[in-house]
Symmetry: C2
Subunit: 477 residues, 2 copies
Amino acid sequence: MLDPQDWQAFRALAHAALDDAMAYLEGVRERPAWRPVPDEVQARLAEPLPQDPTPLQAVYDEFAQSIMPYHSGNIHPRFFGWVQGSGTPTGALAELLAATMNPNVGGRNHGAVYVERAVIGWFRELFGFPEAASGVLTVGTSAANLIAVLVARTKILGPHVRETGVNIEGGRLIAYTSSATHSCVRRAFEVSGLGSASLRVLGTDSLHRIDPTTVARMIAEDREIGNRPFMVIGNAGTVDVGAIDPLDELAEICAREELWFHVDGAFGATAMMAPSLAPKLRGIERADSIAFDFHKWLQAPYDAGCLLVRDGELHRETFASTPNYLTRMPRGLASAQPWFTDFTLDLSRSFRALKVWFTIKEHGAKRLGEAMEANVRQARLFGDLIDANEAFELLAPVQLNVVCFRYRRDGMNEAELDAGNDEIVIRLQESGEAVVSSTVVSGRRAIRICIVNQRTTDDDVRFTLEAIERIGNELIA
Amino acid sequence: MLDPQDWQAFRALAHAALDDAMAYLEGVRERPAWRPVPDEVQARLAEPLPQDPTPLQAVYDEFAQSIMPYHSGNIHPRFFGWVQGSGTPTGALAELLAATMNPNVGGRNHGAVYVERAVIGWFRELFGFPEAASGVLTVGTSAANLIAVLVARTKILGPHVRETGVNIEGGRLIAYTSSATHSCVRRAFEVSGLGSASLRVLGTDSLHRIDPTTVARMIAEDREIGNRPFMVIGNAGTVDVGAIDPLDELAEICAREELWFHVDGAFGATAMMAPSLAPKLRGIERADSIAFDFHKWLQAPYDAGCLLVRDGELHRETFASTPNYLTRMPRGLASAQPWFTDFTLDLSRSFRALKVWFTIKEHGAKRLGEAMEANVRQARLFGDLIDANEAFELLAPVQLNVVCFRYRRDGMNEAELDAGNDEIVIRLQESGEAVVSSTVVSGRRAIRICIVNQRTTDDDVRFTLEAIERIGNELIA
């Protein structure tokens, strides 16, 4: 009833839209890295609920005019803001195909289920996890970290916590992580009812890594005062500077103290595909759970993340339920246990595995690893250029693919430096030449460059740094 | 670096894939409603992590051969299992376009943000919510219900619950809902640390609706024994039989008792678009929060749901945080507050609003409402045919778009009826003629038909019921 009345016309429109999309990606370098959404476009989009039909061609034209020009920048070769993958044309095509099949991948017996299982198997293999490990695709690492906290909660409190709820009588549960850990981990503690007071946030060393000695000492102190240590969360690539915690040492502590060892590897974990980077992640294979994204360094389109759990049965016990209307059957569509709904928050789930499957099949782990290595080299190039230029000051060592620095001139005080560097970030975005973002490193406002972009070239690095210097100089003048 | 070496060749492949996808949807009626994934296909997909690249054409061919034929049925006109929308070709095209732009819709200032805001505004309007109400798109109603529970938790315990965690000292928080409520609501209580013991599950009346008198009585009893009532969860369309709770009466109780009134309207809430169905939902406009899906009766491809919250500020206080690396700026890409990350679980989020925007723009609320009304008429037709046929027994009144019944013959005992009806469901799926699912109604195994399918015709209804009778007769013989 909602299918095209005229399939021929629909096909013509779809082919034209596909051409537009491909031209958009092929020519992305020629267009601004970002542009603001004009007020009149914002106003046009804020229309009342459409009551009547609009010819699809007119809808598409509105999209092409009012929406498509205003991407968020990350598809552009000179986008270095936050931690955002750039995607690939293949990934976009895979999304079309996934939505054409349009399965609900909550479970059951159909093709998408086996694709998601295959993808999970690939990462079980990459991280050296056992066959019995479970996995599930999520929107991203935020949800994956939350699920990890919930599974660790089941481990320490038992599956009956699902019924009884969390009760801090009997000692507060305590987890340990560094101040460099992403805010979504704190959110996981908030959501789970444990409360962020259960997350002990420890200072970092000069390389922005957690100090295992401090972790061990705090565990002892917590036990002493009647708290219940249950979890350590290590970082494989911190958001601010790209630091990797000493995972092997954390794994050792967790083994000794019988704590759950979770690794937040949102972007860094997939560097296991790069031979020159994998050694930095030593110890990740000992984790109880690993959370990571496909839409960052693996270039799948938004959104797709994953959680792997060594103890698959514990993972299942944290979520599994079988209401009457989800009865499993020995044959037919309702077969093929276990269902993904028994491992995650969501009962309805899209076929997000397909874009990951296409990406990894097309390029293979080696080439994807090479693309990451290229980004790491580009970050080093940024760092070298910054080091060699007295207009800039590096604010943290370049350890992976992130560079934090600031523009400076003699005579600028700290307040002027903070305000000036924020203004540079904004003006660079407004210029459309490149996108970088802001953060704070050791109390100082930093310009932050994070390269998880398969389209970036060394020339883009040089061009961007020159633009930043030019804007800084204009600001001073 | 991962973009096509040869764009011309990529375009040719993409156009061919688009043709395949359109032919797939145009011809969906001619193919089986479902078919099992053969063992050899399962084995082929379970390959090790690909290390080396594969030409995209070969990857696509493998998709076309090993994945595409095995959809999960819901795109077929004779799919009536669970509660699954069938999607539209426009929705699939929108997914291609969304992944081409590939924004992270966590926040910031770009086109996708204004599209999501527009979609939220449309549903605020549909449900008569005020301008100050907040909204956010989610994977689905599971996440939306979870977020609603978390906002209600903030309301009763205060925002400091994020830090302190849940503590049942001082009286257990209690929410009220019916035994017909979806399992994801229980999961929300498990995840949030309140525990399912905080969810009081009440029996239903003959129409499978909650009894407001019982709710009021239980609230009084709970207060009496020192528990803390805080929330009522009403259903706008129960999963098993499509019942709608007396929302207006529940709203009245919540107003009087100062409890949070949440409506789980996973599929039913969007029936507000249908003039003949909207009156059944009276009282939904008084809810504190409403959760619903776009991938069910609104036919957007998987996945997309939504939560609306009347008190937008409370919603924000439940999640908002601004770490250094997410600093908001007055201009540039990091402007345009508030960000969606302050209202939901996930920090990275895809452009799922676009498929909703395209769907509602193309068809308008009226036609979408008509499609729902057609499904309700078809359910009634199913019910009438079942009533008129002594081989069948209706197990619940047909109230909306769900029909629960069983095949029966004189002399079959209850155990035989249960086993026989499950077997009919499986055999029908295996025949590829249609897909229905199973549930339990009043202790009896039921064949369950739920029509949220824009492709279904009245002839599909008749054909499916004849197939069920034929399979039942074969089973007896």
